[in-house]
Amino acid sequence: MSIEETTVHHHAHHFASADDEFEAAKQGMWIFLVTEVLMFGGLFVAYAIFRGLYPEMFHAAHQHLAVNMGATNTVVLITSSLTMALAVSSTQKGKRDHAIIYLVLTLLAACCFLVIKYFEYTHKFHDGLLPGGLFTNTELKDPKSPLFFSLYFMMTGLHGIHVLIGMGVITWILRRTVRHEFSPGYYTPVELVGFYWHFVDLVWIYLFPLLYLVG
């Protein structure tokens, strides 16, 4: 008996087949992502409103964000999305070793993203560019400037939490991959974690231009 056979996945008894189970799980994931869109949606609406009300303030405040770091982070996240996609296809093709490498690369990219974010945040803290009443910066004259940084920290913070959770679930599937739990016959968790990770990338694809570029 090979290891694959000892750890083979049995679909739950209320599904007619493994295919059904896979499709149901996937649809569940899509529905979950819908709720995520709506959660971030609230923040995007707040952004739209305040940007519409105070365009000059947004313009002045957004110039205090580090475009270089934001752009680097975009590249990092896109690369991690690519490695994640490759990890999924490697698992589907049964190339376990490749899958492990790609998952590790994805994790490294996620770490890199957070390290860059850490430097960005410390810089903001240092300059007093903080949300609401914590705002102490004196360069930005507009008394409404703290609003921009409230939005900045809320949006990138919520996204950062998603990155952290993503790292958690990627670690989980990495561990299961190492333990031979996936095969071309069963890879549902890998694919669904992939969805989640691509979604995190999707959010950033909008956050980056909205906050750093067009402010």
């Binding site: 056979e5 083979v8 996945h9 049995h10 679909h11 493994a18 896979f22 499709e23 996937k26 649809q27 899509w30 529905i31 992502l33 819908v34 869109v37 709506l38 949606g41 609230g42 995007f44 609406v45 739209a48 409103i49 519409g52 009300l53 475009v67 752009a71 975009t74 590249v75 896109i78 690369t79 999305s81 690519l82 994640m84 996609a85 490759l86 999924v88 296809s89 589907q92 093709k93 705002f135 004259k141 008394p143 400037s145 703290p146 609003l147 071309p184 016959g185 069963y186 890879y187 549902t188 992939g194 691509h198 990338d201 999707l202 694809i205 909008y206 980056f208 231009p209 570029l213 067009v214």
Partner: protein, 370 residues
């Protein structure tokens, strides 16, 4: 293994396609960053959003494999963006266009025209009926359907909302002018807020309805009107004139640029010159100006004084600007009276409706000469 495995008909993303998509995404990122450095005005925003949407589509279609997924999954995901669009569009249209509708629409007209009732402070069945309608929308949450002070929100409040069916326990009193004052000023610090945003007619109607709920009504004396600072001039329905302004106008006023030098001005105790006693004695306009306007506009109408606009954090201030004869509001005495009677919302500029025709003329002339 039979039915325990997934069949092999799921599409697998080829490495070549994955790399192509990844490459395209990186190129598109470079494009947005590049374009952002060129100033194209509003187009910058649309280009950035268009590129981001292209990138998002690539990720969703290929990395998330929607292109080969069942169509309903794509629909589910797309629907969320539809709802997001509704969310964004409806909220912003309300915010950005409500002001215009408000100015042109009947509400603004209602504020400026005469009271519908010759003497709204005297109860009539129509006023009570109108008040009942308003009550069921504005007041039931706290005061309850029957006015017993037991609405759904009441249990959370201390002091409890007033029981209108009782003759006891009224703080201000049970005369119409007294209830009218409560609706105008609220009863701070209780949950009973000011309803000064409702036109005076509506507040009188509410007053009469509320008072119709208890037996033995009390009647106003002329002295009560004086005490409550309510004048019985039919224009404005027993109140000077409603201080209402469209949101668009208010926003425009708040967006008046501040000069960088006034950052250190002592915000809550602005300094301004006074007008000398002698000038005041010889010029009635100067006296009115000194009494009502100097604290915000300065002795020479030079402005530059910080005025509290909103109490919310961050506290917003507006710095008054110098009077300019070219301003819409100073071009003619009609425009001037119109602007000053309405005032500006919040704490910006109170409305002044109590001046006589000759006082308006004096004040206008005085400001013209500054």
């Amino acid at each position: 293994m039979g039915s325990n495995t997934q069949k092999q008909h799921h599409h697998i993303l080829s490495t070549k396609v994955a790399l192509m998509i990844g490459g395209t995404l990186l190129v598109l990122t470079a494009v947005t960053v590049g374009v952002a450095h060129i100033d194209l005005g509003h187009f910058n925003f649309f280009i950035a959003m268009a590129v981001a949407t292209c990138k998002a589509l690539l990720v969703a279609l290929f990395f998330m494999n929607l292109i080969h997924d069942r169509p309903e999954n794509g629909m589910i995901f797309a629907t969320s963006f539809l709802f997001l669009a509704i969310f964004v569009i409806l909220t912003s249209t309300d915010l950005f266009f409500r002001g215009d509708v408000y100015v042109k629409g009947p509400l603004m007209a209602a504020v400026q025209t005469q009271s519908k009732w010759a003497k709204p402070w005297i109860s009539t069945p129509e006023l009570v009926a109108h008040g009942k309608e308003l009550y069921s929308v504005q007041c039931v949450a706290c005061h309850g359907v029957e006015g017993k002070g037991n609405g759904p929100a009441a249990s959370a409040l201390t002091p409890r909302p007033r029981n209108f069916t009782a003759t006891e326990g009224w703080k201000k009193g049970r005369k119409p002018t007294m209830v009218f004052q409560v609706l105008r000023d609220g009863l701070p610090p209780s949950a009973m807020a000011s309803y000064a945003t409702l036109p005076p007619d509506d507040r009188w109607a509410l007053t009469h309805f509320v008072l119709s709920l208890a037996p033995q009504p009390e009647v106003d004396t002329p002295a009560d009107f004086v005490k409550g600072n309510i004048n019985t001039n039919p224009v404005g329905g027993g109140e000077k004139i409603a201080r209402t302004i469209s949101i668009g106008q208010a926003m425009a006023q708040m967006a008046i640029p501040r000069s960088p030098s006034d950052e250190n001005a002592h915000l809550d105790h602005p300094k301004f010159d006074r007008i000398s006693e002698a000038v005041q004695a010889s010029n009635p306009g100067a006296r009115l100006y000194e009494e009502h306007c100097v604290r915000c506009h300065g002795a020479k109408g030079e402005g530059g004084i910080k005025v509290h606009a909103l109490g919310v954090y961050p506290v917003a201030y507006v710095t008054t600007s110098a009077f300019k004869s070219s301003s819409e509001n100073l071009k003619s005495i009609q425009a001037f009276i119109h602007f000053v009677t309405l005032g500006l919302p919040g704490e910006l500029m109170p409305g002044y409706g109590q001046l006589s025709a000759s006082e308006w003329k004096d004040l206008y002339q005085f400001i013209q000469n500054r």
